[in-house]
Structure formats: C-alpha cells, structure tokens
Amino acid sequence: MGGTARCFVCGRRASVYVSYLGEYLCPEHFVEYFERRVRETLVWFRLVERGDRVAVAVSGGKDSLTTLYLMRKFSEEMDFEVFGVAVDEGIAGYREYKLEALRSLAREIGVDVHVVTFRELFGLTLDEAVAALRERGFEVKPCTVCGVFRRYALNRAARELGATKLATGHNLDDEVQVFAMNLIKAHADGIVREGLVTEPASERLVPRIKPLYFIPEKEVLAYTLIKGIHTPFVECPYIVYALRHPIRHWLNEVEDEEPGAKYRVLAFKEVLRNALPPPPKEMMLCRICGEPTSHPVCRACELKSYILSTRAGRDDAGRGGRAAGVARLPPHPG
C-alpha cells in the first residue's frame, strides 16, 4: 500500500488535496498555487492600482489575517500602501483573543493596525446590544446588528484614515453562503451588490475589494497552518443565531459529494448578477449621523435607536416606571 499522497508537481509528500482539480500538492507548491491565485485576482480584476492606500478589515480570524499578510507581501512589488482596521464589537471571551493574534502578526510583518470600538461609535457593546435584542425575542438577530455596525465602522474608519480601497477577507465559501441566504430571502439587491468589487455609490463610501473571493475556506486554513499564521480557535458565541450556520454545513455536505459545486454556484451568481437590474445608485446622507445611506435614516442609526429604546425601557422599568415610548422600528431586510 502506498500510504502517502504525492504532490503532482514534484512527487513529494502532499499536504493538500485540491478536490475540484483532483490533484495533490506539497506545502511548497500549495503555497505557490494559493498565492498566485490571490495575486492574479488582484491584477486581473484590477482590485488595486499603483498608489492605492489599502485598508484591510481585520478581525484576527484566518481569512482576514491571510488577507493582511498577502496584501503586505504584494504591496511593494505592486506599489500600494497597506494598513489594518479592526473593529472591537465588545464580545467578551472572543474578540480579545482574535485581536491578540492580529497584533502579533501585524508586528511581525510591520503593518499598522487601527482599532475602533462599537462602544465609541454606538455607545454600547455587542454583548449589551444582544441583551436588549433578547428582551424582544430576537426579532432582530445579533448577526444583523453586528454586520450593519461593522460595515458602518469599517467604512468610516477607512475613509477617515485616507484609504482608497477597503479589502475584506471574504472567501469563496462566504460568497456562496451569502448568495444562498439572499436567494432564501428573495433579496435580489443583495445578490447584485455582493461581488468581487463593490462599486461606490457615494464618495463617502470606500470601494470594497475581496482578494480571497475565489479561494475555498478550507484552503485558507491549510495556508495559515503551513505558513504558521497563528489564529486562535474561538467561535463567536452568537453564530448559533445565524441563518448562515445551517447553510454553510449544507453547502459543505454538497461540496463533499460534488467537488467543485461551490465554484459552479459562484459562477451562476455572476450570471445572475449580470442579468438582474442594478440597485438604485442615488445615495443621501443620514439625517442623524451624516453617513451615506439609501434611506433618510441609515440602518445603523435605526438599529441603534431600536436597541437603545429597549435598554431605556428596561431602565424605566427598573425605576418603577413603564417601558413607554419604546421605538418599534420595523427592521427592513438585510
């Protein structure tokens, strides 16, 4: 019995089986293959240009650390600047470990990282927000609030730090999961919006790019293990509330049975994005915070008001009063 899978390039012991190619790769040739695809994504789709100042949205997880590492690696030969922007949502027992891993890598590769917090931007942590959401029976899910607040925080921080691009660590699996979620919610605008590059509809929105768009999540993990990029295994405690949770497992089961299925779904998403009408481009400025929005009041301010009114209601109740005047803003989709 052979016992050892061999790299199809050099014949050495393989570390990774690339199921959609039906080929094995050793650590050296896997790293080369992985980095080449990310570099080609940047070049072929012109995600970055000479002189760009790229903010990388970093959470401290494997995807964002890999994005930061590779953007730093390519920055000199491709002549652009890189720095990191991290958001501390205030999730006890989770984010502090991820931020520690981020600071360690940033020091090692010589990249500045700026941290913004939900508390400074919205006046509360995600843990506090979730306590308020729980009181209302989770009619709005934690991931909805976190996603809206994070996008707001990252865009604002990137813009204020002079970024010309905002790179995120979204990988192939993320894209396919979000596509499936948008299908389930019949959210056509969401399908059109979620591409490799997000075209800015306002000069106050920093264009977003996704260097790992074509890379399966499993390959990102293999890359970090082979390269020694340390990321602690701690899961967000609120993931169990997310629709994404069952969808990702279902998609992985399908991928195990039908290698390449995720790529075919991604390809079909692109066909659909081209066939669907583009979302309305007119943007206005939020009447409360002045950030760009497609509604008079932005989604972040709407959710903040919804959460704070619940907390105010609880405080009133604690003083013997009634939870009167609590806002019941109907959450719009997304």
Partner: protein, 72 residues
C-alpha cells in the same frame, strides 16, 4: 478496550482528545468520517504535519483536527 487495527489519538479542534480504533490502512478521510465530521470542514495534521485526506494513517498516529468553520 482492545484494538486489533490501528489505534490513533485525535485532538478534535482543541476541544477534546480521543482514542479511535481504525482498520489497518485507514486514511485521514476514514477517520474524519468515523468521527461524523465533514471532510470539507476539517484540515488534519498527522504527527505535526498538515496532510491530505487520502494519507494512510501510520500506526499509533497523533492526529490534530483543525476546524475550517470558525466565525471571523
């Protein structure tokens, strides 16, 4: 319990360490499936080295399973 095949020690996502008895010639893929996990959600290191799923497990291997699924 006696194991007439290959007894391997598995660290599952840093959460628990378990001994698993597999047939001689079993692969990493066999181990992942025996544990009820999905192959596309796991990267395995055997005796400290990242390996492909079709790697045959050496006798008394120490396996560390890393979870692909982790919320960023």
């Amino acid at each position: 319990m006696a194991c007439s095949g290959n007894r391997v020690v598995v660290d599952i996502f840093g959460r628990e360490v378990r001994e698993v008895c597999l047939e001689e010639g079993a692969t990493v893929r066999d181990l992942i499936k025996a544990l009820g996990l999905r192959v596309s959600e796991v990267v395995a290191a055997v005796n400290g080295e990242v390996v492909a799923e079709d790697e045959v497990l050496p006798p008394a291997a120490r396996v560390k399973l890393h979870s692909v699924v982790s919320g960023g």
